[in-house]
């Protein structure tokens, strides 16, 4: 860890407040501060930099969602928390790809894993995976209509103009059909 990164390491409360306030700077500082630690863990335990990126981002998302949900209590240093999540995620990944040698070489102290927390996270990840593939199967223009309306909070008026619908009722009908198809695609997956 070089000096610049160390100097810019945010305090734990800065990070939490930053996430709550949607601060892009805080997120960036958090990300830059602890990535080297996780990179070190992964590359010295049979992984590469891409694995490190995946694992680290997943851990940041876990932290982000917990903070956003308002049930985040910091019981240790944020650094230890992040390391522990990454360690746990990497162990799981290693055993999935049969590269697990029985133990990992550790570089930080860590906390025992909280399985409930991870089950919740994994459930949501699974739902998101299904949603992603459902949207992909949905195809255009339905995908954009659904995303614009339900994700990007665009008004029906905007959507009408973008897709050249002559009146809002036609657009609403189209949006309804699209949503129904998406639901069907989503629930069909198992």
């Amino acid at each position: 860890m070089n000096k610049d990164l160390k100097d810019s390491t945010p305090t734990d409360s800065e990070v939490i407040l930053g996430i709550l306030n949607n601060s892009e700077t805080a997120l960036k500082r958090l990300y830059i501060a602890y990535f080297p630690m996780v990179l070190q863990l992964i590359i010295n335990n049979n992984g590469d930099e891409d694995d490190a990126k995946d694992i680290y981002q997943e851990a940041i998302i876990v932290l982000y969602n917990k903070v956003k949900a308002g049930d985040f209590e910091l019981s240790s240093k944020l650094k230890t928390y992040i390391y522990s999540i990454c360690r746990r995620l990497w162990l799981k990944r290693l055993s999935q790809i049969n590269r697990y040698g029985g133990d990992v070489r550790d570089f930080q102290e860590f906390m025992p894993a909280n399985d409930d927390e991870f089950d919740q996270h994994n459930d949501r990840d699974m739902q998101f995976g299904k949603m992603e593939s459902a949207l992909r199967l949905l195809g255009e223009p339905c995908k954009t209509i659904v995303e614009d309306f339900y994700i990007n909070n665009r008004s029906m008026q905007d959507i009408c103009e973008r897709f050249g619908y002559t009146n809002a009722d036609n657009a609403k009908t189209q949006k309804y059909k699209c949503l129904q198809r998406l639901k069907k695609l989503f629930f069909q997956q198992k």
Partner: protein, 359 residues
């Protein structure tokens, strides 16, 4: 109400776009119609999930953008736990090291080839010759052994004379027994007894043997005494020795008090015809005193022979280590030869003179 219309109503409801009255009537409808309620819950969950999915995708985009700014490669270099320098050296230079090693091996082999180390024919030939030589040697040894067996008797390599100084000790010349594997003495009756070398003084050519044979009964006191004092020029001297397989008497004069020249005070010069078999025999004066040990080695002076003065014999006896003797040597002090005729002297002497046989 069509599904489409219902969905729009639900959305307006969930988005809080209804008027108060409208809301109340819809909530009533929800309570009464389970199907409507189910649709509301379902739609809420699904759209929330959709929304969260959108947020997740957005967050991932942000994180990826941040990630782009990190120089992962440099970080990786710094963070990888590096193996020891020798492993690193190998990893980064193994091709060069391999080439270097190959060149070195090739060079060594070339040099060895040029220098003839691989000239295997040559060394095989050498080996063959060696084996042949050994074979030859082996054959000759075997034939010699056969010859010995045929003759039935082992010929002594060299013989000399010895005379008794005590009950079981015999003095002779060192050159008689030098390098011998085994030594025996034979008395006037032709009986052979085993002996061992007790003490030698190569510088004066004196050796003292001990008869170890169990058949040897020992001798009485010697009839002669040992005269330490020097004898005079012109003194008549004689010896009895095994210049052949029987004792041979020889007489002459003491021709010089020194040996080959004035520096040689160890020897007398004597004028007695001798051959090498006489070596180690006693030199006696007319009274029967031993004045020297005949030394019949070849000399440069025609007809001249030498005898080691008795003084050196007495010194040698004195020098024998005490631990190789069971008891002190007591030399005879009483001369029983004096006054006897030469024939009688020789008869008495005969029992105390031995042929020394060396194998």
């Amino acid at each position: 109400m069509s599904d489409n219309e219902l969905l729009e109503v639900i959305e307006r409801y969930l988005n809080g776009e209804m008027s108060r009255d409208e809301r109340k009537s819809f909530e009533l409808q929800r309570k009464e119609n389970a199907d409507v309620d189910k649709k509301v819950v379902e739609h809420k969950l699904f759209t929330n999930l959709l929304k969260q999915y959108g947020e997740r995708v957005e967050l991932e985009k942000r994180l990826n953008a941040i990630h782009e700014e990190i120089d992962v490669h440099t970080l990786k270099e710094n963070l990888l736990v590096h193996p020891s320098w020798i492993v690193q050296l190998w990893r980064s230079h193994h091709s060069k090291i391999s080439v270097a090693a190959s060149v070195a091996i090739f060079a060594v082999l070339s040099v060895m080839y040029i220098a003839g180390s691989f000239n295997s024919n040559n060394s095989v030939d050498q080996l063959k010759r060696k084996v042949d030589q050994l074979d030859q040697l082996n054959k000759s040894i075997r034939s010699s052994i056969n010859n010995i067996k045929k003759s039935g008797n082992v010929d002594p390599g060299f013989t000399g004379t010895g005379f008794a100084i005590s009950s079981n000790l015999i003095v002779t010349n060192n050159h008689v027994i030098d390098g011998a594997n085994s030594v025996s003495v034979q008395n006037a009756d032709g009986k052979l007894f085993k002996a061992e070398v007790l003490y030698t003084e190569p510088q004066t050519d004196i050796a003292i043997l001990k008869v170890t044979d169990t058949a040897f009964t020992g001798l009485g006191a010697t009839p002669y005494t040992f005269k330490r004092a020097g004898s005079d020029l012109g003194e008549a001297v004689y010896t009895l020795g095994y210049s052949s397989d029987t004792p041979v008497y020889g007489r002459g004069d003491l021709t010089s008090e020194n040996g080959e020249n004035s520096n040689d005070s160890v020897h007398y010069r004597i004028s007695i015809p001798l051959n090498h078999g006489n070596s180690g025999g006693p030199l006696l004066d007319s009274k029967g005193d031993v004045i020297g040990i005949v030394n019949a080695k070849q000399t440069q002076v025609e007809g001249a022979h030498f005898a080691i003065k008795t003084g050196y014999l007495l010194d040698a006896i004195h020098h024998i280590p005490a631990d190789s003797l069971k008891r002190r040597i007591i030399l005879n002090k009483k001369n029983t030869l004096a006054g006897l005729s030469r024939q009688q002297q020789l008869k008495k002497l005969n029992n105390y003179i031995f042929m020394v046989k060396v194998y």
